[in-house]
């Protein structure tokens, strides 16, 4: 794995047991994703894009082959090392935002930093910076139920970005948003990708997202059926 490669999969296979047999979600995937890429795994439902994202995020492990993420092998990684990898280097953005309902916007964004044991002042500054990136400094005391869908997803982006991870994994981030909010969100992520050189990997089948991607990896029935660089 060269210095610029952040994700590398080699003959990656993922099978799920179903009844007496199994279902193959990913079949022999070989991929390289470099630092600072803005890439999407695109395909219909059941094509394996979320499974791929989960393995890269060390939330699941491969059945065969391996995935190297930031130089760490996901195969047999172990729960403790996996949680350290996620805690320090990976940010997640979910389709349903997954904000903690009882926390304020500030506390939601602050949460990943609490796990990193930063000082109060450093944490506060980092949270305010992250909220500024997504344009939500006026909502620090709001609770998630007081936010619109677009605002909630921007909080989720701030939460994913606050620790300045090398990699952000976004699973259908605009699926619950209207067109205007989707574009706002994507422009925010695009800006962060350019300014902080953070690698973004999306799982999506939304055309609005696809238009922003710089590289598109097409998946179908667990196989890579296409891989194109988009010229802007």
């Amino acid at each position: 794995m060269d210095n610029n490669t952040i994700i590398q999969t080699d003959h990656l296979v993922k099978r799920f047991p179903i009844g007496g047999g199994h279902f193959t979600a990913l079949e022999d995937i070989d991929l390289r994703i470099g630092k600072g890429e803005f890439t999407g795994l695109v395909g219909p439902s059941g094509s394996g894009k979320t499974t791929m994202l989960n393995i890269i995020g060390s939330l699941d492990d491969p059945s065969e082959g391996d995935a190297q993420v930031l130089g760490t092998s996901i195969k047999n990684i172990g729960a403790r090392r996996a949680s350290t990898l996620r805690k320090k280097h990976i940010g997640f953005i979910f389709q349903t935002y997954n904000l903690m309902p009882v926390y304020t916007v500030f506390e939601n964004v602050e949460f990943p930093l609490l796990l990193l044991k930063m000082s109060d002042s450093e944490r506060k500054k980092a949270v305010m910076d992250a909220l500024e990136w997504v344009g939500l400094t006026s909502k620090v005391k709001s609770k998630p139920k007081q936010l619109s869908g677009g605002e909630s997803q921007r909080v989720a982006i701030a939460r994913a970005m606050v620790k300045k991870p090398e990699l952000v994994l976004a699973d259908e981030p605009t699926a619950n948003l209207d067109a205007e909010n989707s574009h706002n969100i994507l422009r925010t992520m695009e800006k962060l990708n350019e300014e902080l050189n953070t690698t973004f990997l999306f799982a999506t089948h939304d055309d609005k997202v696809i238009r922003y991607l710089k590289r598109i990896i097409y998946l179908e029935d667990g196989k890579v059926v296409g891989d194109e660089q988009v010229k802007k």
Partner: protein, 390 residues
């Protein structure tokens, strides 16, 4: 620290459900302290009273004496040891002669225990100075319960019939010269007290007694022929057993109350883990280990106990202090059961009692919080993130 911070936020976020759980648990907490306080208070009060009024610091019993078998009284008497003469003069030992008798209040018949005690004694609190004879009449004193039962008052005459040492019946009128109020029914109910010498003369048992009460330990454990020493442990054995059984009964009651509160917390925890799957999945995605997540939920559940201590203190301390001031009034007739008990029981609280209650409530709450939290280890984080029912 993180777990506690998260737990507080989640508990406050849960609002009314948290309040109800905490309140029920605080009731259990206060009731445990209150119930045990009353048991300890009664224990203390009863023991002090029986020592003051009945047992002294121990008793010598005639070897045939059985306080629970009135038939034993006939043969349970012997000469008072001469070694105790000085102490008798000083009033620091009180020989008592016991015999069965019958009184006839208002023409009715009632079996009693007639007891003779030295009027000069200073060993127990019975006001025996009223037994000093000042004329022809034989003075007698009664406890207030006995007086009420036979409708007797100071100045009344009471016909008493007894059998002497030879088995001959005789009868005499006693003049009631005093009534005393005590919380110890054993020296009151069914008892008539007269001067020791009077009873010795009436029964023909000169210088004899059935038992000897001692005031201090210097007269304990002496080797007196025909007498057996009963220390306070032996004398209080029945009472200790009774208090122990009462404690068990109370424990069952507060355990039921505690179980209800814990069931509510268990239920809340199960519901919470089921409802907050997305949150659990998100915690894990952000880098928390499963053990940390279990810790958060266990601490969250256990915080119910901490909050209940605070809530319990807010409403419980004034209540417990008020009860300590006023005591718990006992219903009329309770004293007829033969238990040493005042008109009201004053609870006795101790630091140990409070600490035990705190430990019981906190540990059991932590256990019922941990049990459902273990379910998290079986969760698939990918499904949890999506909030899929597992």
């Amino acid at each position: 620290m993180l777990s506690i911070k998260l737990a507080i936020k989640n508990l406050l976020g849960a609002g009314l459900r948290t309040f109800l759980n905490v309140f029920i648990l605080s009731v259990a907490f206060v009731v445990i302290i209150m119930q045990n306080g009353f048991i300890q208070g009664w224990n203390k009060q009863a023991k002090v009273d029986v020592v003051e009024w009945q047992y002294g610091e121990g008793q010598y019993w005639h070897e045939n004496y059985d306080p629970y078998d009135p038939f034993s009284f006939q043969d349970a008497h012997t000469a008072i040891p001469e070694r105790l003469n000085t102490a008798r003069q000083e009033g620091t030992v009180a020989p008592i002669l016991v015999t069965q008798a019958t009184v006839y209040p208002e023409g009715r018949l009632k079996s009693i225990v007639l007891k003779g005690i030295d009027p000069r004694q200073k060993t127990i609190s019975i006001p025996t100075d009223k037994l000093v004879r000042e004329g022809e009449d034989v003075p007698a004193i009664l406890g207030s319960r006995m007086a009420m039962n036979i409708k007797a008052n100071v100045g009344d005459y009471l016909l008493v019939r007894w059998r002497d040492a030879n088995g001959m019946f005789d009868a005499k009128e006693l003049k009631i010269t005093g009534l005393f109020r005590t919380d110890v029914p054993a020296v009151d109910l069914g008892q008539v007290w007269i001067a020791l010498e009077e009873l010795q003369q009436m029964t023909g048992l000169d210088n004899e007694a059935t038992l000897i009460v001692i005031k201090d330990q210097s007269h304990a454990e002496m080797d007196l022929a025909g007498w057996e020493f009963q220390d306070l442990d032996e004398l209080l054995y029945d009472m200790n057993q009774m208090i122990k059984s009462k404690s068990v009964g109370n424990a069952i009651m507060y355990l039921i109350l505690l179980a209800l509160a814990l069931l509510a917390i268990f239920d809340t925890q199960v519901l919470s883990i089921f409802r907050r799957q997305k949150e659990i999945g998100t915690f894990i995605a952000m880098g928390m280990t499963r053990r940390q997540v279990i810790g958060v939920f266990t601490v969250e559940g256990t915080m119910h106990a901490v909050l209940s201590l605070i809530v319990g203190a807010i409403w419980g301390i004034p209540l417990l202090l008020q009860l300590k001031k006023t005591g718990l009034p006992m219903p009329e007739g309770y004293d007829q059961f033969g238990l040493p008990m005042g008109d009201s029981i004053i609870p006795a609280y101790s630091l140990g009692l409070v600490l035990v209650a705190v430990v019981i409530v906190t540990v059991t709450t932590a256990i019922v919080s941990y049990l459902p939290a273990r379910k998290i280890t079986k969760m698939n984080p990918n499904d949890a993130i999506r909030g899929k029912i597992q």
